[in-house]
Amino acid sequence: MSALPPYATTGQRAWYYSFRVICGLVFFFLIAPIVVIIPLSFNAQDFFTFTPEMLRLDPEGYSLKHYRDFFSNDSWQSAMWNSLKIAPMATIVSVTFGTLAAIGLSQPHVPFRRAIMAILISPMIVPLIISAAGMYFFYSRIGLQGTYVGVVLAHAALGIPFVIITVTATLVGFDRSLTRAAANMGADPVTTFFRVQMPLILPGVISGGLFAFITSFDEVVVVLFVGSAGQKTLPWQMFIGLREQISPTILAVATLLVAISIMLLATVEMLRRRSERLRGMSPS
C-alpha cells in the first residue's frame, strides 16, 4: 500500500480512491451474503428476516433452536453422515488418481499429453448439469446409478482436475536429478516415489485433496442425478429444505459449513506451510 506520490495528477488521485472503493465493493458482494446468514441462524423465530428484537440486540431475539433442530432431526443427521461418508472417500480416490495422472503427464516422453490433460480437466470446464446428465445415463447402464460407489466415483471425477492442477504446479519445481540420485543410490522406482518424490510434492497433494473434499462436500447437481434417497447429502437436504419446508435450520447448517470450511482451510494451510518450512523450500 503505497501512499500517493506528491506529483500525482488529479486523474491519478481520482483513480487511487476509486480503485479502493471498487475493491471494497468486490469484497462486500463476495462476503456480505455469507456474513448475513450467521446472525440470522441464531434467530429465535422461524423467519428468514431480522426481527425487531434482534435489531435491538435483545437476548430474547436470539436462540440456538435451529442448531438443536439440525442435531436432533433425523433427515438432517442422515444427510450429514452421508456427506461424511461420501466426501472423504471421493477425496481419497481423487488424490490417488489425480496425483498419478499429474506425475505421468509431467514426463516429457508421454504422447498426446496435452490432449489427455485437457480431457482429465474437462469436468471443471463442462457445465455441471451436462456432466451430471451424462453420468446419469452412463451409470444407469452399468448399474452404478443410485449407489454409494456411483456417487463417490462421480464426485472423484469432479475432484480429480483440482488435484491434477495443484500437483502439476508443484512438479514444475521438482528437480528430476533427485529421482536420479535415488535410483543411483539403489532405490527402485516404487521406493523412490514414496521416499523422495511423494514427500516433496505433498503440499500440492494436500491442497488438491482439500479442493476435492470441498467439491464433494458442497456438490448438489451431480448427486441429484447419480444418487438416490440413500445418498442424500447435506447440500441436497438444504436444497430440499429451501424448496419444501422453508426452515431456518438451513441457515444453521450453512453457518456450520462455513465454519468447517474456514477451519479446514486454515488447518491445511498451516500444515502445508509448516511442511514447506521444514523442507526449507519456502524463501521465508
Binding site: S177, M185, G186, A187, T192, M281
Partner: protein, 366 residues
C-alpha cells in the same frame, strides 16, 4: 592406450553410439577402457557428448549401439538402481526433506542394512569429509561447499567401486574449488575407487586426473595422462583446447629424420615434429606452446630455423611476462617468459628473432 580386450579392464565402452532423435549422433563410436582405481576425466566443450557418456554409464540414458561393460559384464540391460555406481550430481541433488544424516543413510536403508551399522557408516563418511557435526541439519541450512562435501560423502557411503562426478565443483568459487579438487583426488586415491569425472574446466582436468579424455563432436579426440596431453597433443583441436597455444599455417616441404620442414604461408621455413602429416605438399597447422618459444639468441640451437617477429604488446603478470608478437602475419602469437633476474623485458616495436626445439613444435592436421 589400453587394449579393448584388456583383462584388467573395469569400465569399458565398446563402439558406443548415442542418438536422441534417431538422426544425429551425439556420441559417435566411443571406445574407452579404464583399469580399476583410475581417475579419468572426460573433458570437452558443451555438446561434445561427455555428459551423455556419463549418463549412459549411470544408466539414465541407453546406448543406441554398442556395449558398456562394468567389471567384464555388460550393463546395457541393468537398470540404474541395480548398477551400484555412486554419483555426485552437478547441483548435488541432496534430498531437501531429509537431514544430512538421513540423506547418507538412504542408500544404506534401501540395501536393508541394520540400524547400528548404518549409523556407524554414516558417521564415518561424514567424518571423512569433515562434516561430522552437521548430521542433524537440512541441506538448505548448509553453504554450497558444505553441500558439495555431503554429496560426495553420500556417493561414497555405500562403498561403490565406481563413482561418477558430473561437474561437481561448477557452482563453487575459485578458492573452494581448488581446495575441493585436492580433497577429491586425495579421497579417491586413498579409498582406491575408480572415478569418472566430467568437467569443461581444463585446469581441473589436468590437476586431478590420471588420464584425461578430450571429447569433441561425439568422439574422444585424445586420451592421455595430463602431461602428455599438454605437451604432445595429437591434433589441432586438442592443442587449441588444452592450455594456451600458438598456431601457424603452412605446407610441408620435406620430412627427414623425423623432422618436417614446413613452409609458412608468408614463405618462411621452420622445423617441426611431424605428428599427423606424412608427406610433402600436405597442408598443416603448426602448434607451439607460448612458454617453449625462445628469443634469446644465445640459447637457440645452432643451425635451427628462426622467424622474424615484431613485439606488439608486453604484459607484466607478476610471475610471468606475457608478450604478444606479430609472427608470419599472425598478430596473436603469444610468448610467456618467467620473471627471472636475467630475463630481458621486450619493448613494443622491437624486432626480434624467435626459435624453438623442433620437438616442441608440432605439425598437426590443418
Amino acid at each position: 592406450m589400453a587394449d579393448a580386450s584388456n583383462v584388467d579392464a573395469f569400465v569399458e565402452f565398446e563402439r558406443v553410439q548415442k542418438s536422441y532423435d534417431g538422426e544425429n549422433l551425439v556420441v559417435k563410436d566411443l571406445n574407452l577402457t579404464m583399469p580399476k582405481g583410475e581417475f579419468l576425466t572426460m573433458l570437452g566443450p558443451s555438446g561434445s557428448g561427455k555428459t551423455t557418456c556419463l549418463m549412459m554409464l549411470a544408466g539414465f540414458e541407453t546406448a543406441t549401439h554398442g556395449d558398456i561393460r562394468l567389471g567384464g559384464t555388460s550393463i546395457n540391460n541393468i537398470p540404474p538402481h541395480k548398477r551400484g555406481i555412486g554419483m555426485v550430481f552437478q547441483n548435488y541433488a541432496l534430498f531437501p526433506h531429509m537431514t544430512i544424516a538421513e540423506n547418507l543413510s538412504f542408500p544404506l536403508e534401501v540395501r536393508k542394512m541394520g540400524k547400528s551399522e548404518r549409523e556407524a557408516k554414516v558417521k564415518r563418511a561424514l567424518d571423512m569429509v569433515e562434516m561430522g557435526a552437521f548430521g542433524g541439519r537440512r541441506p538448505s541450512q548448509l553453504s554450497g561447499g558444505q553441500q558439495q562435501r555431503v554429496a560426495l560423502a553420500r556417493a561414497l557411503v555405500f562403498e561403490p567401486e565406481l563413482v561418477l562426478m558430473d561437474e561437481p565443483l561448477g557452482a563453487l568459487d575459485k578458492q573452494l574449488r581448488e581446495k575441493m579438487q585436492f580433497e577429491i583426488t586425495h579421497l579417491a586415491h586413498s579409498l582406491g575407487i575408480t572415478v569418472v569425472y566430467v568437467t569443461h574446466d581444463q585446469t581441473e582436468a589436468l590437476t586431478m586426473s590420471d588420464r584425461v579424455a578430450v571429447f569433441d563432436d561425439g568422439r574422444i579426440q585424445q586420451i592421455a595422462p595430463p602431461d602428455q596431453l599438454y605437451e604432445s597433443p595429437d591434433n589441432s583441436f586438442v592443442a587449441q583446447f588444452i592450455g594456451e597455444n600458438n598456431t601457424l599455417e603452412g605446407t610441408v616441404k620435406e620430412i627427414n629424420n623425423g623432422i618436417a620442414l614446413v613452409q609458412l604461408d608468408d614463405g618462411e621455413l621452420i622445423d617441426c615434429k611431424p605428428v599427423n602429416v606424412s608427406r610433402p605438399g600436405e597442408r598443416t597447422r603448426v602448434s607451439i606452446r607460448p612458454e617453449r618459444v625462445e628469443y634469446n639468441k644465445e640459447r637457440l640451437q645452432e643451425g635451427v630455423h628462426t622467424l622474424k617477429a615484431e613485439v606488439l604488446e608486453f604484459i607484466y603478470m607478476g610471475d610471468i611476462f606475457r608478450t604478444r608478437l606479430r609472427v608470419a602475419g599472425n598478430d596473436e602469437f603469444i610468448i610467456k617468459t618467467r620473471n627471472a633476474p636475467d630475463q630481458v623485458r621486450l619493448q613494443p616495436g622491437q624486432q626480434i628473432e624467435i626459435g624453438w626445439l623442433p620437438e616442441d613444435c608440432r605439425a598437426l592436421d590443418a
